[in-house]
């Protein structure tokens, strides 16, 4: 029955419709965020489901957020970008390096260290929250390297917290790279560094980009770690820190919060769509041969 071409086309169309339906269903809450960003606060509370009457309110909110001197939004945007980019580079490259040597070295130490990284994913953040701040303070007074309220501290923190998951995932996917490829490289006279960066890493592109995206989302939207390490109201602020005051103790500026979320969403969507094509170009052809 499936061999009939007409049936296959009908099945494909049904699948397409189904997927579109699912996507729409998934995006309903986001749609609610969008329409509510273009309403006044009262309208949001009274009629969250209604379509906005005046879309220009959205523009007003955006300019309000962008130009508000208390928020310093553009500065926070730069800070968030710098921190996210450097943290991502650190996490992905260093984790890939670590995962590779942990995988290829079959010693007890290597297995123990790998298990240590994996086990750390289970640690609830509450346990390390305050000791972390205290330790950073002690470290910086002993070594003079500014850890708190600086880029260094927050980036090292992200690399530290992101490495467990990333190493775990790289480790899992690196197994599918046959030894023959690496051995061939050694035969050709490549040292370890060259083999890793020129042969292994390119093969891992799909999972590498996936790990970039997964870590990127978390870092971009993170509030708690920057609040602890960078501090609120200090010179270096990230976007979530900057827009946090929209949520008051009694009065919540829902309109500004929704708008702020949309503004933070744009770079993520752009990044995601750009990164997509690197995931698609898999290792399907060529490398195995």
């Amino acid at each position: 029955m499936f061999k009939n071409i007409n049936n296959r086309i009908i099945l494909k169309n049904i699948a397409e419709m189904l997927t579109i339906g699912l996507v729409v269903l998934f995006l309903v809450p986001l749609f609610l965020v969008l329409i509510n960003a273009a309403k006044t606060n009262n309208e949001i509370i009274q009629t969250p489901l209604s379509l906005p009457t005046d879309w220009s309110i959205l523009w007003k909110n955006i300019t309000n957020i962008w130009s508000n001197p208390n928020l310093r939004y553009s500065q926070a945007l730069v800070n968030s970008t710098v921190i996210t980019v450097f943290s991502l580079l650190g996490i992905t490259i260093f984790s890939a390096m670590a995962a590779w040597v942990l995988l290829r070295t079959k010693t007890k130490t290597s297995m123990a260290i790998f298990m240590l990284f994996v086990a750390a994913m289970v640690i609830p953040f509450q346990v390390v929250m305050f000791p972390l701040v205290k330790w950073f303070g002690i470290f910086q007074s002993f070594t003079g390297i500014q850890m708190l309220r600086s880029y260094t501290g927050i980036i090292i923190a992200y690399i530290g917290f992101g490495s467990s998951l990333s190493i775990f995932m790289f480790h899992g996917f690196m197994k599918s790279i046959p030894h023959e490829i690496e051995e061939a490289a050694y035969m050709d006279g490549c040292g370890k560094f060259k083999t890793f960066f020129l042969i292994v890493l390119p093969i891992l592109k799909p999972i590498y980009v996936t790990i970039l995206i997964l870590n990127g989302i978390w870092i971009w939207n993170d509030f708690l770690l920057p609040m602890l390490v960078l501090g609120k109201g200090t010179p270096v602020q990230t976007l979530p820190l900057a827009v946090n005051n929209f949520a008051g103790a009694f009065l919540v500026s829902w309109d500004l919060m929704m708008t702020a979320i949309l503004m933070a969403l744009v770079p993520i969507i752009v990044f995601f769509l750009m990164a997509q094509k690197h995931i698609i170009k898999g290792m399907v052809e060529g490398s195995v041969k």
Partner: protein, 317 residues
Amino acid sequence: MSKFIETFKKMGNDSLNQDKRNQKIVFWLFLFPSLFSFAMVQIIPFAIGIYYSFTNWSATAQFSIDFVGLKNYFDAFQDPAFLYATIITSVYTILNIMLVNVIAFSLALLVTSQLKGRNIYRAGFFLPNIIGGIILGYIWQFIFNYFVPRIAAMAGFTYLAENLMLGNSNTAILAMVIVSTWQSAGYIMMIYVAALQNVPRDLIEAAQIDGANAWQRFRNITVPMVSQAFTVTLFLTLVNSFKQFDVNVSLTNGGPSTMFMGRAIKGTTLLAMNISDTSTISLNTAQAQAKAIIFFLVLVTFSLIQVYISKKREVEL
């Protein structure tokens, strides 16, 4: 002659040792950046945290920090809310693991097939992962408290039309499962997608030529190839479900109350939230540390077992 052979052997050994030494250097060099950062923010603070769990540390201005031995641990085990949280978190975790993985895998299959808009669909399923915090709570509370009853009334589901899901602790847990599945399905889907992209096309083509139909190809090629992704996703969903905090706080706030062991307690406070409440509401930060370490030990045991079993079933190329 024997001296020649000996020197020759030694030269060979030396180069072997040199090689070993080089390997060791590369090992530690490649490992160092991750290990250093990891030690700085996880190992050392965790060790400090373990120390604090044996004291009366409060993280606030104390006159002195005193050693109390295992008191915090004993108290933790006797706290009914902690016991309840353990039970309810286990239930939530089992439901969540099943739902998230089934949906994420199905979505991954859909978006790696030949559908036209698959890039956009991929983005669409993944976007929910971006929404969190009080906005997530606000939107979904509205959906459950106003949207769902109205739709249920129109469709004739009287139970849902008259009873709010968030108004009863049992259905509120289901609501949490739904919301966290919505939030993380796309995330897990991305991992399955990466794995599915790894399936070598020539293997599939060869099987097609050999006459295997779609289901056989799926079962005998795709599924084993994806099994290593499965270890990762199973582990992630297990750990993330057990650690669930964000959706818990923003959606149900610890939940409507329920009766447990003869008293009224908050009905959907999962473990992570119970630990946090022990610190911020009960003002017993040291006991929160003890609870967190118990939590860690329990979960680490479960997940290491899970990883071990999964890795055994994996197919290595």
